[in-house]
Symmetry: C2
Subunit: 299 residues, 2 copies
Amino acid sequence: MAEVREIIAAELKLTKVEPWKRLKGGCSSNNWAFKTEIGEIFAKIDSDKHGRDLLLGEMKSLEMLQSAESVRVPRPIKIIFSQNTAILITEYIKFKGLEVFQGELGQHLAMLHLRNLQLLKENADQAVKQFGFYVNTCCGKIPVDNQWNEDWINFYCKQRLKPQVEMAAKMSGNREVETLWSQLEPKIKQLFHGVNVQPSLLHGDLWSGNAGETETGPVIFDPASFYGHHEFDLAITRMFGGFGREFYQRYHQLIPREVGFEERKSLYELFHYLNHWNHFGGAYEEQSLKIMRRLVANN
Amino acid sequence: MAEVREIIAAELKLTKVEPWKRLKGGCSSNNWAFKTEIGEIFAKIDSDKHGRDLLLGEMKSLEMLQSAESVRVPRPIKIIFSQNTAILITEYIKFKGLEVFQGELGQHLAMLHLRNLQLLKENADQAVKQFGFYVNTCCGKIPVDNQWNEDWINFYCKQRLKPQVEMAAKMSGNREVETLWSQLEPKIKQLFHGVNVQPSLLHGDLWSGNAGETETGPVIFDPASFYGHHEFDLAITRMFGGFGREFYQRYHQLIPREVGFEERKSLYELFHYLNHWNHFGGAYEEQSLKIMRRLVANN
């Protein structure tokens, strides 16, 4: 840790950077808490080839989520690039699994999703009017294309689903996924019949493993933010369990469920199943194909 | 999850296998809790090329640790191999970070380490008399060689340090690590002067991220067990923070510290620094070389 400590001390102009504890991380990143004279800080250290993009995307996501002042995220402090190593520094938050603050998180997430929609109505020159983000981000370790796009359906098809379909087909040699995609793509528009999608700032990867709580309230982390349809964030919360009834009650008090959500939910889940297939293989291949077959048959 | 659920249901002869929540895992493994008629179960699902070896090593480690009845681990239920996917099923334990049961864990770990030493004295035909394990295990995602060996120093040099040194040299192109290793290896014997190393069953990767507690006591998980020198387990607990003073007090009440532990601690840390270098690169390269230079100079 000597090198990393020295880099952090120099970049943050600190005299004390004391390794305090290591925390579980991903396969390429390496998470540490340090004690310093400005308090406890958390560092994600990544020497992988995508590490720089991954952490830069996360830094920008944290900055935008923090400035939205709706749901708590670790306060970003600095991103440092040193040779082949990237280091993202944030405040250190001691948290545990979501329990008593389920409802609050639902409410805070809805407030986040509503914020840009309100700006569009009240103060349109400060609002974001397209879908995308300022930088690319990574969902897991696979980068996604956040180039700004005026059309949500086009963004979601071309910049989310299609690259995952192509990667899955290439890696697995499975041809059905491409056939299904060519049948599904032209049908996607009708899933949005009567829905006016406007850009909301999203967490982007809000499964239950990326949410927790402190003694004072809920907190979310490991974001891969972008401006997109708020239902995208909501769909993944339902995929892997872990969010309770109160979460949805409080969310839907502020953002009621729209007609056709169940089908769009499957479409949004599809991105995550494909992304899991590309990360983990195995059972997610069949699950991805099953959703695609069902969406093609029903629409 | 459909496929995985069906496989688990068939293999465990269950009618209900309901996905309950996904939990954070490594980069190739994918962790789920399911609700079933035999209670909540936890599944590690791995489709990576080393997944089978990794999970088989973990299954055998959990079995041995459980039968030692010294420190709680998740009760192993079954390992399933299905095409390219391996699934390790254990009981599901809801835990949080180690806090009030620091001391108990120290005591339980010492009891684990003493167990085979007591058998050697009292019931030698039931004791393990060599260093190694029944299967290979993985430390992180890198497999280690657990072939039985009568000599601890030979085992630790040839089956732990040397393969890591070779991998680091090959991957990084760093030549100093090989030069340092050729100087260090002949000096290792003197670090054990006056110490009679006997095989203890070890957790094998006991950093603070692999320990926690329930409401009733401490629990350790993600083991990469083998029979080795108990100081190997103790050394890693000191590396990344997270274990408190009570942990060491209670441990050393049962197993007093032996002369020369500080130097051997560095030697045992070296394995983990090299292993981290091979996983993460970056700052661990310099840290590994620094320890080797110091050990060569001091001995």
